[in-house]
Amino acid sequence: MKIKNLTKINDYLFEIPAGSIKNMNVPARIYGSDRLIENMDDAVFTQISNVATLPGVVDSALCMPDGHSGYGFPIGGVAAINPEHGIISPGGIGFDINCGVWLLSTNLTFDEVSPKLKTLVDLLFKAVPSGVGSDGILSLSNSDFEQAMIHGSEWGVKNGYGTKNDIECCEESGKVSSADPSFVSKKARDRGAGQIGSLGSGNHYLEIQIVKDKNIFDKTTADAFGITGKDQIVIMIHCGSRGFGHQVATDYLGSFAKLQEKFGYNFPDRELASAPFYSTEGQAYFNAMNCAINIAFLNRQLIKHRVTEIIFELFGSKNGLKVETVYDVCHNTAKIEKHAVNGSMKKLLIHRKGATRAFPPGSRGIPAKYSTLGQPVLIGGSMESGSYLLRGTESGKDSFYSTVHGSGRVMSRHEAKKQFNGKEIQKSLESRGIYIKTSSYSGLAEEAGGAYKDVDEVVPAAVNAGLGSIVAKFIPIGNIKG
C-alpha cells in the first residue's frame, strides 16, 4: 500500500489508525476495492486523516469508494460530529452546497424518442441555462428570494413550478428547517438571485438515459421506483445551489478562518476552518447553509419543471404521457440526523461532501411509498459510462448510511485537457449514439469519461462494502453539459 499506516480491515475497507497524525483522535476509514484504493491519489489519505482531527468526530472519518482529492475534506468524505462539543465546517460541505441529483422517469421508450433525440437535446439546451455565469430560469425579487431560501422546492410548487409528488420525492421533502435568511449576506443574495434554475458548469449536466431490461437488477424495487425497463427513457439532472451557495460558503469560510485562534483550533488545512456547532458563529453558518440547501432544491425543481414542459411540447401527442420525479438526492450537506452509536441513539451532525445519504428501509425521512424498500440513491457516472440507481440498506449503518455520489475523478482537469479534445469527444460519442450539447468544449474535455474512475467498478465496490444495493443502471443517449 502507498500509505505507510494503511491497513486492510476487510476486502472493501481500509483504515489509517488514530494517532497517525497529530490530534487524530479517531481512525480514518476508506471504502474501496484493492484497485480503487491503489489508484486513489495520495492527497485523499492525507485529507481524510485531517478530517479525523476535527473536534467531535464520532467513530471515524470516512471516505467513500469514489473518493478523490478535493479541498478540506476529500470528495467522498463523511464525518459524523457530536454537535454538543463538535464543529461545523464549510470545508466539509463544499462551496456547491446541496449539489445533488434529480431523477425523472417517463413512459417514453427509446424507439419513441430516438427520431427526435437531437431536437430534444437542442430544445433542452436552449431552455435550461448552462455554462459560466448563466442567468437562471427565474430572477426573484428580494421578498420571493427570502421565501425561496426558507421553503425551497415547496416555494416552487406553490408558485406553479412542479407537483406535490416532487416534494414528496425529494430528500428532506425539498426543504430543510433552521434556514434563516437574516444570516445570509447581501453579496450572496446578489450573486444568487438571478441564477435560480440554471445548471452551471464543471461536472454539472442534464442527461437523457435509457433503461434496458438487462440493466434492471432488482425488479421489485425498480417497479416501485417507477423504473420499468423495456428501453424506458429517464432524465437525470445534476447541479447545486449555484453562485448563492458558493458565496455563502465563501463568506463563512473567510470569517471562520479569522476566528480559529479564538476557538483554539489549529487544523492541518485552513480549508477545515470551523466553528463550534452551537456557537453564535456556527449557528449563523448552519442557518445560512440551510438557506443554500433550500435554494439548491428549488434550482433542481425549476429545471425539472422546464424539462417536463419541453418533453410535453415534443411528445405530448403520446396518450397518457407521464414524466414523474423518482427522487432527488443531496451530496454536499451537513444535516442533523439520529444514528446508533455504541447501542444508543445519538443526535449527530453528518457532514457529507461528495457523498450521498442512503437510508435503509423503515427510516424516517424517506417517502412513505418507498418506506419498505429504502431510500433511492442516485449515482451519476461520466457522460460516457452510465449511471446507477441504488437503494439504501441496513448494512450501511457503519457509514452513517452514506454511500458514493459518482464515479470519482482519476485524472486532473489539466491532464484531461491535454489528453482529450472536446470536439472529438462530441463526435466520437455521437457515433456511439450519445448526442451532446455543451457550452464549453474545453469543459467537455475536462469531463471526458477517461478522466473518471470506472463507475462499473466503483458502484459494485460500494455495494460489496454494504453501502447500498443496486436497483438499475442507466445508459446515456443525450447530454447537456454546463
Binding site: 491519489d41 482529492s69 478540506g72 446578489d190 464543471g202 480549508e271 474545453s442
Partner: protein, 146 residues
Amino acid sequence: MIESNYEILKNITSADIAVRVKASSRSLLFKYGAEALMSEMIEDISSIDKSISKTGSFEGTDLSLLYFEFLNEFLFFKDAENLLLLPHDVSVSFSDGFYICNFTLIGEKINRNVHQFRVDIKAVTLHALTIYEENGIFFAESVFDV
C-alpha cells in the same frame, strides 16, 4: 504573456485547479493571481473589453486571507452582475500590522458571442493557500474550486 506569471501545480487536487503565481511585488502578485483566475475560466482574457470599472479595498492582518478575498471578488461580480473583470490597478501596502489592498477592476458584461469560456470557477479556496517570498520574488499558491 500573462500565462508566464503562473503555473499549474500538479498532485494537489484532481477535481479542482491549483496554481502558483510569481511576481516582483505583493501588488503584482495580487494582479497576476486575478489574471490566473480569469485565464482558467476564459480562453482569451484579452477578449475582455474595458468599458466598466469597479473599485474597492480590503484590509487585514493576514496577507493570504486578503488574497482570498480579493480573488473571490472577481467571482462575485461574474455571477452577481454578469461582469468579466480584470485587475487594472492593484496596490497592496503594509502599515502598523495591517495589509491594505486597494483596487480598480475593469471589464465588461459577459458576451457569449465574444467570450469563450473554459469552465466556471465556484470559489477560491483556503486549501493549500500560501504566500511566501524567496530572494525578493513573491509567490502565491492557491486552489480554485471548479
